[in-house]
Amino acid sequence: MKDFISQLNKSFESRIRLGIMSVLMVNESIDFLSLKEMLDASDGNIASHVAALEKAEYLTIEKKFVGKKTSTTYTITPFGREAFNQHLNALEQLLKR
């Protein structure tokens, strides 16, 4: 039981981060505005959580210009996918006990 708790990933403890990772798991990539709409959180809030997840190398950020506006898209890394799956398994095991 203790073992499962240690498998829970601290990086995914906030609700917003869980949301970001869940969305990225099922979408090839997602832009900032769509992510914001789905999570219903403020710009700054999302940006800081995304930055933390990028630092952990769970996702990559791509910025490009669409006309004059910048568009930012996020993609999950294979490492991030593995980490999130592990976290999900740990959650499931904890509830199964």
Partner: protein
């Protein structure tokens, strides 16, 4: 003391469960457009039935609707125009009410009507429909009129199966039904209008009502 620890555990467990629920809902919400309303289906079905009935009477009242000229089938221009207007009215009314009920449901769920998932759903619906539409024009120009109604059913079914990946999964089974009905109809040329009325009318109404009771009635 021990009691307190147990309580804390329960709380923790609730949090994990909530986490999992949240993850599941996020995955679903970000990859599927779930605001599609069952009532949209019911209204589309009713309009399709009304359209079929008026098409039936239009066809009945045209005595010299079809004749042959140099072995090529000819249609009365008036008849084609009448049927075209009926079809357009059905299409327009269905889309209008479909949009109306879907935005209403989206608002209730707190979702947007126009977002990534609805775009994906529409694009995936449109691709087989576009191919089917061109194919029907070709059938019309070659005089294969009897195959037009079955073809619309088949391609509409394919479109639903294709689009169902981005919306409520139930749509897939409606797609299979429409496809099967269209394929059966290809063996009963001349009954096209009846198959069409059943596929676009009755099936839409039945499916719309069942979807409405499954997803919207309770909420």
């Amino acid at each position: 003391m021990q009691f307190k620890v147990l309580l804390a555990m329960d709380q923790k467990e609730k949090d994990y469960l909530q986490d999992l629920t949240e993850i599941r809902s996020m995955m679903e919400k970000s990859s599927r457009f779930i605001s599609l309303s069952g009532l949209a289906g019911v209204f589309a079905g009713v309009f399709a039935l009304a359209g079929s009935i008026s098409a039936y009477y239009i066809l009945k009242n045209f005595y010299i609707a079809i004749w042959y000229e140099n072995d090529i089938i000819q249609l009365s221009k008036d008849l084609v125009l009448h049927l075209f207007l009926v079809a357009m009215a059905v299409l327009f009314l269905s889309l209008f009410f479909g949009y109306y009920f879907t935005t209403k449901k989206a608002k209730k769920l707190g979702h947007k009507t126009w977002n990534k998932t609805s775009r994906l759903m529409l694009i995936n619906l449109a691709i087989p429909l576009f191919a089917g539409g061109i194919f029907c024009v070709s059938l019309f120009l070659h005089g294969n009129l009897g195959l037009i109604a079955p073809t619309t059913l088949i391609f509409y079914g394919l479109a639903l199966v294709n689009g169902s990946k981005f919306t409520l999964n139930d749509i897939k089974y409606l797609g299979y039904c429409e496809m099967l009905l269209g394929l059966i109809a290809t063996f009963f040329i001349g009954w096209g209008l009846w198959f069409w009325a059943f596929g676009f009318g009755i099936l839409h109404i039945v499916y719309g009502i069942s979807m409405y009771y499954k997803y919207e009635h309770k909420q």
